[in-house]
Amino acid sequence: MSRTRDQLGRPLVAVTGIGLVTPLGFGVADSWAGLLAGRSGISRITRFPTDHLRTTIAGQVVLPEEAGRQPFSSPERVERMAALAATEAVAGAGIGGDFPGPLFLGMPPVEVEWPQRLELARQTHGEQAGRYPAMVAAAAGRQDLFEMFLFGGIGERLADRFGTRGAPISLTTACATGASAIQLGVEAIQRGEAAAALCIGAEGSVAPEAMIRFSLLSALSTRNDEPQRASRPFEKTREGFVMSEGAAALVLESLEAAEARGATVLGLVLGCGEKADSFHRTRSNPNGGAIIGAMRAAIADAGLEPGQIDYVNAHGTGTPENDKMETLGMLAVFGDTPPPISSNKSMIGHTLSAAGAMEAVFSLLTIRDQMLPPTINHETPDPAVPLDVVPNVARPAKVSRVLSNSFGFGGQNVCLVLGAAP
């Protein structure tokens, strides 16, 4: 282990730029200030009619250029927010011109959406009205639709815009997506494949069909009358997560490269851990094996013992299932004296594909400012959650290493350990 290598001889990975777009604000400063103030970014949905929806609240990012026009499709929204976050991160890193490494983009799956489908359907007639063959015929020549909804489209356009190197990699690991994007960047740097990586998590799925689908899985909070009190992770009356959107971007560089060019190092990604679960499509194995495995793997990958983790940035979705499993994981990994844990999602909601990246940024800010962001809406403690969840109010603490958890549908579990700059 040298100054710029870790305990396994791999290059240490520094974060030199961060960018955020959240329902609490555009940019790192506003988002972080809102989080420390315990402000909720959840509101009533205004973007589309909510009649017949069980859940009518969400975290929303209102893009100024959307005013007065039909709402953006998910890929348009994802691309815009990803670009905003990446612009902030790259500028913060002091990188001008082409980005000197690959792009890893965590994003939701995209597809032709209802506005486009209905637009095509309006051009069909008679017996064939609304039928796919007729809509396909009506879509002839629509290269714009093709490029908008191709899975590789957003990554390609961002790669073009930021001048990243090589094939952009777009990925999804459900609610762990943002953490996976960072992990891929870390690995590329550790392998010596790249000196830098642009890692983004972005989400823009607050739309009727996606909301209904999550509702059908009974995953969403229905506390529609009190949007700001709806997301209540680790609290006795929680009953689901609140969908949200936004983007986070991180510029990763080998510590050596960052120091060589005199960049400001915001922190280090010390370790990554992952473990897949084979139990069920939407539930973890009750023994917590995969969650515990991922948490332990990240801590071990960082060359640390659990006792050296000062704070945990929770997955903390606010579903009964997550509360149960994450608590189990905390107690299994940390024993009787777990470190404080809090959930950014109590304020921002669940930004799905963006969450892991967003929470990695907040973990770095926690270390920078020595302030733990709170878990808001903590009114009735749950005796089944014997954890210090930093209830309701941010507080100062000595923090040099943070474990950030991300657990997703399909048994995807990814954890990151972030540390202070050396």
């Binding site: 009619p49 009649d51 090589g166 990925l171 059908l216 499509r281 549908f409 399909g410 048994g411 995807q412």
Partner: protein
């Protein structure tokens, strides 16, 4: 650290059937008639799915019910690959990297809603849409549609739990899935990985994605070589291909047979404008590849004109500058263009051909129909074995 990586198992399903025999037979007989469904998605011909005995790889009916054809196909082929590698007992620590598109939509529901809403004013259509979706969507269909749930189902059905990652981005996603899975093994992050993808061509939702580009071939099926004169076009194919990648050290220790050695996997993405061409991108990727005289080319050309032309130019340059080129096979002629499954399917075909002693070395190409260039080199396991 750079451990040699072998392919020790192949799970390949296409319109031709499953496993080595039908695919090697088709490679050996370029004149054989293709398996084509010209009517169901007319004017677009497709290569259909073969009948699958799903119970063999997805024994629980409950699991089958939670999926639609795309996830079932991929999960089935993943199981074939694990069996082929005799790796059933090794799945707990096996890493998984899947290249995925989206799963099936409920097409009859979409059509019913489109018929009903097309004539309504926007506000009313929005409210009615919510009502129809809330009452019409099946909860299981959400999970069957989620891209990362192909990987999720492979974990659940086959117990592959080392790690799980899903890449999105058409052909390019598959090349990077294999590239990164192999790189992780080569650097000592695990001994076994399962990488691949699946594509179901017979889906109106996929036709609606691809047809607007003008890239789909219309009318009677024709081989790739004959399409260029009419502006090119792809005939999409239903296929799944999964590869078990394994470090040579691990394979030797457990007495597993290597089908082929994965010498190199490289990927890039030209903007395909100005000087930044697919041809130049591939030429850059090919620099220093350890090609030997007589190498066979397993081409991933889709049939779309511009990338096909770029690939032809690249291969001509490569043949002129390097060792003598062997036969070039456009595998889309037998499988169709299988998008996320294309690159792994070509690797699977190449590995099977090498294992059968049909070709001395294989160069696998991938030229995405819109973006993405990729190359891989496969050798017999005996060649260049670790000293």
């Amino acid at each position: 650290m750079s451990e040699p990586v072998w392919i020790t198992g192949v799970g390949l399903v296409s319109c031709l059937g499953e496993g080595a025999a039908p695919h090697l037979a088709a490679l050996a007989d370029p004149a054989a008639p293709p398996v084509v469904d010209a009517t169901t998605f007319a004017p677009f011909p497709i290569h259909p799915l073969p009948p699958l005995d799903l119970d063999r790889q997805i024994p629980k009916k409950g699991d089958q019910r939670q999926m639609e054809p795309w996830q079932r196909l991929g999960t089935y082929a993943a199981g074939l690959a694990i069996d082929h590698a005799a790796a059933r007992g090794l799945v707990a620590d096996m890493h998984l990297v899947v290249s995925a598109g989206g799963g099936e939509r409920d097409v009859p529901l979409d059509e019913a809603i489109c018929r009903e809403l097309a004539g309504l004013p926007a506000g009313e259509a929005g409210r009615r849409l919510n009502e129809r979706l809330a009452n019409g969507l099946r909860p299981t269909l959400f999970l069957a549609q989620l891209s990362n749930l192909l990987a999720g189902n492979i974990s659940i059905v086959h117990g592959v739990t080392g790690s799980s990652r899903t890449f999105m981005g058409e052909e390019s996603a598959a090349a990077d899935a294999v590239r990164i899975a192999a790189a992780r093994l080569a650097e000592g992050r695990g001994e076994l990985a399962l990488a691949g993808g699946a594509y179901v061509a017979g889906r109106w939702d996929m036709v609606l994605l691809h047809a607007p580009s003008g890239g789909l071939w219309r009318g009677d099926w024709a081989p790739l070589a004959a399409r260029a004169a009419s502006g090119g076009g792809m005939v999409t194919g239903s296929a799944a291909a999964f590869l078990v990648l394994e470090t040579e050290r691990h394979a030797r220790a457990r007495g597993a047979r290597g089908l082929a050695r994965l010498q190199a996997v490289r990927s890039g993405a030209a903007r395909r404008r100005g000087q930044d061409t697919a041809r130049a991108s591939a030429t850059g990727l090919a620099e220093g590849l350890p090609l030997r005289p007589g190498y066979a080319v397993f081409s991933g050309a889709s049939g779309v004109a511009a990338p096909a032309e770029a690939e032809a130019g690249f291969l001509a340059d490569l043949g002129a500058a390097g060792p003598a080129q062997g036969p070039v096979r456009h595998t889309a002629d037998i499988l169709g263009h299988t998008v996320e499954a294309a690159f792994p399917a070509n690797l699977a075909l190449a590995a099977l051909a090498i294992d059968a002693g049909r070709v001395p070395q294989a160069l696998v190409t991938g030229f995405g129909l819109w973006r993405g260039e990729a190359l891989a080199v496969l050798d017999p396991v005996a060649e260049g074995a670790a000293a």
